[in-house]
């Protein structure tokens, strides 16, 4: 019996012992891996809601050749490897990666609703978040306030493409919870 087709492709997991992540003073994430220096990398979560700490794709984001015409099918900005689990990294690196991911997946956490107004097909929110007071607008109707992942996290998407989150819906202040429940 030959091996399963699933096994015919390897995932390049990044060895936590070999990888050295760093954030430069200019706020760029860099990586040194197996003797290669990557001056600019990005992290993409494979499962941002259901498994945010595992299977994180580390991607080369060096734009220095942006004007060169590449050969078709040979994309330079490729995946360097995949982080199997953030917990495999030491505390210092983990902090760097968490900080980067928080910025990439930018979604202020709502603490409470200050006011909500509905008019002409749109809902106007003023909320207190961990980043300060935010005002934003969402469309009425489905898909703007949704539960994701295990079901206790709520994401709110505004008309401009901004995101707001309630990391633990069951823990939020009850008045806010009741208000938001009506929109889900």
């Amino acid at each position: 019996m030959s091996e399963s087709i699933i096994d015919s492709v390897d995932i390049d997991y990044i060895d936590p012992k070999e990888a050295k992540f760093n954030i430069t003073e200019n706020h760029i994430l860099t990586l040194d891996l197996n003797g290669v220096h990557y001056p600019c990398v990005q992290l993409h979560r494979s499962f941002p809601f259901t498994n945010p700490d595992q299977y994180i794709s580390v991607r080369d984001d060096d734009d220095s050749d942006k004007d060169e015409v590449r050969e078709i099918g040979n994309d330079k900005k490729k995946e360097i490897g995949i982080i199997r689990d953030l917990n495999e990294f030491d505390a210092v690196t983990r902090k760097i990666l968490d900080k980067y991911l928080e910025l990439r997946y930018f979604a202020p956490a709502i603490i409470r609703i200050i006011s909500i107004r509905e008019e002409f097909g749109y809902r106007y929110w003023t909320v207190e978040t961990d980043k300060g007071v935010c005002k934003f607008t969402t469309r009425l109707g489905r898909g703007t306030v949704v539960t994701v992942g295990s079901g206790d996290k709520v994401m709110i998407y505004d008309v401009d493409g901004n995101r707001f989150q309630i990391p633990s819906f069951s823990q939020i202040e009850s008045k806010t919870r009741k208000q938001i429940e009506m929109f889900m």
């Binding site: 706020h27 600019c40 015409v69 910025l103 002409f120 749109y122 401009d160 901004n162 995101r163």
Partner: protein, 740 residues
Amino acid sequence: MKLNFELPEKVKLKVLQSLMTDILYAVPLGMDVTGQKRKESWFVIGTDKWLTVQDGEIEKVEYIAHCKDFLLKPMVGNAYIKATVDGRVSIIARFSMTDVVRYGYIVQILNQMAANQPVKIYNNDNDKVCPVCGRILIRGTNLCPKCSKKGQAVKQIVTMAKPYMIFMVISLIIYLITTVLSLKEVTYYQKIVDECFGGGGTKEQFFKYMFIVIGLGLGAFFLNIVAAISDNNFTQRFAKRLRKAVFDKVQSLSVSYVSNASPGDIMNRTFSDTNEINTFIRTVSVNLIKAVFLFIVATVMMLQMNWKMALVIMIPAPLAFYIQIGAWNKFMKKVFKGLRVANDKANSYLHDVVSGIRVVKVFGTEKRVTAKFRKLARNVADQDIKGQTLVEWFGPLTSIILYLGQYAIYFFGCMAILGETMTLGELVAFNTIAQKFYAPLNQLILMPRQIANSMISVQRVYEILNQVPEIRDQNTSTEHKIEGNIEFQGVSFGYNSYDHVLNDINFTVKKGEMIGLVGRSGSGKSTLTNLVCRFYDVNEGSIKIDGKDIRDIQQSSLTSQIGVVLQENFLFSGPLFENIRYSKPNATPEEVIRAAKIANAHEFIINLPDGYDTWVAEGGSNFSGGEKQRIAIARAILSDPAILILDEATSALDVETEAQIQEALQRLIEGRTTFAIAHRLSTLKNANRLFVMDKGKIVEMGTHDELLKRKGIYYSLVMAQRTMAKRKGKTDTVSEILAN
């Protein structure tokens, strides 16, 4: 796009001191590079420097000449500008998605300034702002939530109902008359009881009163029929007008609006919302007036007859009112909303599973699917039971409270009769009027909820009716008979203007030329053809047809002269011949047959039992891909377009069918300016020129032979396909061997 905001005086002073030049551009940031929200947070460009301000203080200043490669990087829920500053790659500013379009322009400006080029801002339009309060409007809407008052929306909708209001007035008058008649009836009940049953009355009197009562009843009955007919006339005519207005509006809106909205949403606005509005107008114009009138008349009559008893039965009314509204807000609203959501979930899951039944069968997941549906169905049942239980509790509770008044009538009525201050007839009359007092009360209790629901629909319909299409004919737009010369001059375009899909496209195509567009997915081929059809307007540059800017050609004139054949062609349900002559509704049967013959479609159509009268099922599901393709080609042929766009028109077909369709297309292409997109390069062998596209640019241009000689991207594509074809050939041989 507004790129120079007015800075607060204090900040402005500090900025001017730092720049030591004028402020050319100033745009809000809202946060620092670490994502912390900041007050007085700005990105400012002067003549030779850029700087950032956080919390009203200058954070960072740099000479633009020391920087290069400014790049906008969209993240998730935010974006940043990356640049090389003094040779080091840096993130220089971070902002929310609200300002991302603005920063798209800022990055262009910075790059042009860094390269010492003149700054070209093509999109110099101001943000769409409310003409009244100056607030920036949400993208995709023309309504300012602050200035658009609900009253305005209602006024516009009511104005639309005006021509049919006469029907409403007729039914209202009739309803008022019947109300008076029914109250009049009561006095005769009193007479029957007091004068006839109570003794002293004659048989003639009894018959006379009975005759009047029956007469009044019959009169009210017939009048009510007239009122209902009139009512119905209003409903149907007004609904028709409103639906037509919404539908016309949707048709006039640009592709970008319609493709952003979901089909379900548009259908809801056309049907459910217009229905809801109809109910709203009827509720307010007839039911409310009727209920209030009946309520007042009944109250006055009761007070006149016996004010003490009247007060007694009115006391429980506010309590009932309070319980109804309280129960709705506290319990029922949530449960019924839950029921609606549960229903929606179960319905869409069912829809999904039925549409994808083949996949379910192939993977044998019936049990899993059934289990999930059972769970969803149980949820619907649970919510429904909860809702019904609440209704069963609160409904009777309110009734009992209201009927407390009824019991009071019997009690105080009997006491009054015994005390001889009231007659039996008066009690009967009073009781009948009290019944009439409760009926409008029930209606009035429910009305606020009904009106609140309707207001949402009014707003949604008002919003769509007041949309201004992004692609519009200008006053100067004229009809134009297209020859077929096309010119792109410095065209840049993005579906999001900060993220260009096409960059600085320049070319000229002569009348009758066939251009093959080559390049991998996402390189901008289809977008280029969309711009020729003017589904979207370019962000920069211009497109000219026969030397005339396409924005100066009437849209209907332009699109009627462009034929499009796609990979997946949509057929409307209806007769086959109607589908062919969709592009030319007045085509004769002979023309339809000719077009089908040219498209190599006639042979298969004539072999169908119903020929050209064959009914096309929804989505054309009773035709194969190749057949649909040929019908689409016939459709394009019939309109005799000057410009033809073939977007992967043959990619989904087998070799034999493709050959037939190629032949048909060749006839169609003859003499027309054609843009053909194809991944299979062999299908472009007849093209006069090939444009090779990559990352939104035309990177190679020339004939097949010229491009092969150049040994560039086109060459490598051809080689790759040849290798693939050879491999495929080998596989075929192996499978043949296995088969034998």
